[in-house]
Subunit: 357 residues, 2 copies
């Protein structure tokens, strides 16, 4: 019986709708297991720019630092995407949060619920049993290096950078996770072309002997993008840099049937942040059709990783599984065999999950 | 009836085996259509380092400049991959060739032969009819920017760079190709985070009004990695930067059943270079099992693009189609329905293609 303070940071677009459902699940867990969860909310992204001019107001950052965990939605808005010269952007809030909270390790578990075998564009016989845990480095690389223009704005540049200790700390987390799983680690880089990747590979090679029970392989990012689809079961734990991780985990969402199912945990020096890997999805915002299961599964990761509440976390995952077994789906994960009356909106599928808790 | 001089540059690993077959196909075409093709060979990559210490000897570059087209194999060797600190690397030869010949546009057509619908890990109903033409920028980005170490080697950096004219010239090629196809162009970037991508998007937006008949969309690279697998038919022409193109086209090879089927054309200011997108594949080198169809299809692209020989090019593609229709496969594209006696090695499947010419 614990007392915890959780900050809800919905952000933009469907972030609002899905975190509302995630919070209800946390509430129900508290009631069921006798915990006391208190909540607060904070602004980030486009909504924060609209309210304060700042994509991550100091007040939000302070609230994050003081809470025991953050349940996060998404950031982004088409307005900025179509205006490449915008100086203030929602994503700056997200990146600043990651940097300021020292969230250097982004864990993205990719696992298919059996009931969703048919929802993927990949053949069931290729997918069945696939279970990958990605460790994406989250506070370095081309995301955080100096960037700008020269030659009167006619040339743009971005600097990618990694230091040995940045690679080492994420690599150690990945090696340790591999130990608790199938003991295979795939490190992904582009060491045949870029220097940051060569440093990356050096560091992995250097610390690998400390984990003799873990089998290590190195793959180039291009080959990995292909192998993930060709043979996802060959992967256990995958560790990679920020940009490659961004691309490969979105791709890998197809292994889990839909992006709408994938949760992630960002951890590091302080408060952990838990969020779906899907974005703000403005095309479906406010329509009540967004899939909240990734936010619910993010809440499950939060319970497990930040609060050490294994049973509570499993109860949530199990409830999602029951709802899928009962045949309920949101639109994005419904294949043609699903009858129309089983296709539910955001709140209705959330209510089904609550029933199983 | 034309006279053309073709340079064969096998490079490393299976490059030797597959270009040998590609050359036979060119020979047969010359005989059949009454052309005179003369040939020479040149070194690049690991084999060039072994012979001369230089991954792209001046002599090779001179031969390339003087020839009417280059049929290329692959470069790379595990020796360097496992030694991140190697100063001289096979890939430097490839990159120098691209830069020196001004090969800024890399065309990668992704189209599935109907007979291979079963060979992909993606469901046939998702794949059927998919037909994508990638334009990958090939002489800029993080591949060619300054790179190095600082802080006593403890920090590595790579600079990504794009200038307006570099984006514009590849974009124009892509817009023009879209005009001859389904008139859809998808430009892929990461403009929500990196500055080179914001310049990229600006340039596309600026020139788009000159092609009012082409429908343009902008996608982030992470979303694209997902959409390619989820719904490949939504894409027609895709244009993107060097690194994103490297990753996305390898991924997209699964749309064509196997990497062993994909050809590419690198064109720009001078001699065009035609090569499979697969690499040197040292694990199967010398075993006689490599799939030469990508090299044969590269020869088809060479005939079409560098020599303007449409009928000749179609004859090659048609011959490959006939061989697949007759049920012959190499190992990499054989699904479980293919009987063992139809699974052929490199030379044998090449011989089948020759029979249909
Ligand atoms: C919104 C964007 C900046 C972000 C990223 O690229 O990291 C997103 O794609 C993600 O994966 O969390
Ligand atoms: C070998 C390597 C340098 C090369 C690249 O990254 O461009 C290859 O992957 C390709 O796609 O041609």
């Amino acid at each position: 019986m614990a007392t915890k303070h959780i900050l809800i940071v919905p952000g933009d677009g469907i972030g609002q709708e899905v975190t509302a459902v995630g919070k209800k699940v946390l509430d129900k867990i508290a009631a069921k297991f006798g915990h006391t969860f208190t909540y607060d909310e904070a602004l980030i992204g486009h909504v924060a720019i609209e309210a304060t001019g700042n994509p991550l107001p100091d007040e939000s950052l302070e609230k994050m630092r003081k809470s025991d965990a953050v349940l996060f939605g998404a950031v982004g808005h088409p307005k900025y995407d179509n205006d490449p010269s915008a100086k203030v952007r929602p994503e700056q809030g997200l990146l600043k949060m990651r940097k300021e909270l020292g969230l250097y390790a982004n864990l993205r578990p990719i696992k298919l619920f059996d009931e969703l075998l048919g929802a993927s564009s990949i053949k069931p016989e290729i997918l069945k049993g696939a279970d990958i845990l990605f460790f994406r480095e989250l506070t370095g690389d081309i995301y955080f290096g100096e960037k700008g223009r020269k030659n009167d704005g006619d040339t743009a540049y971005d600097i990618a950078e990694y230091s040995r200790y940045e690679v080492e700390r994420i690599a150690r987390k990945a090696f340790e996770a591999a130990r608790t799983r199938r003991k295979k680690l795939c490190s992904v880089d582009k060491a045949n072309v870029i220097e940051t990747s060569r440093l990356w590979r050096e560091v992995i090679q250097k610390i690998a002997p400390e984990y003799p029970d873990v089998e290590v392989e190195h793959q180039f990012v291009d080959a990995t993008a292909m192998l993930l689809i060709k043979d996802p079961r060959r992967f256990d734990v995958v560790v990679t840099a920020n940009l490659f991780g961004d691309i490969l985990t979105d791709e890998a969402s197809q292994i889990a049937g839909s992006m709408g199912m994938l949760a992630s945990a960002s951890v590091g020096d302080g408060t952990g942040v838990y969020e779906p890997i899907h974005g703000s999805a403005h095309d479906i915002t406010g329509k009540g059709v967004a899939n909240p299961l990734a936010s619910i599964l993010s809440a499950a990761l939060l319970l497990d990783i930040s609060f050490g509440m294994k049973a509570e976390s499993e109860a949530v995952i199990n409830a999602v599984d029951q709802v899928l077994k009962a045949g309920f789906r949101t639109r994005d994960i419904a294949d043609q065999q699903i009858p129309a009356d089983k296709i539910l909106g955001t709140e209705a599928i959330g209510a089904e999950v609550l029933k199983h808790l």
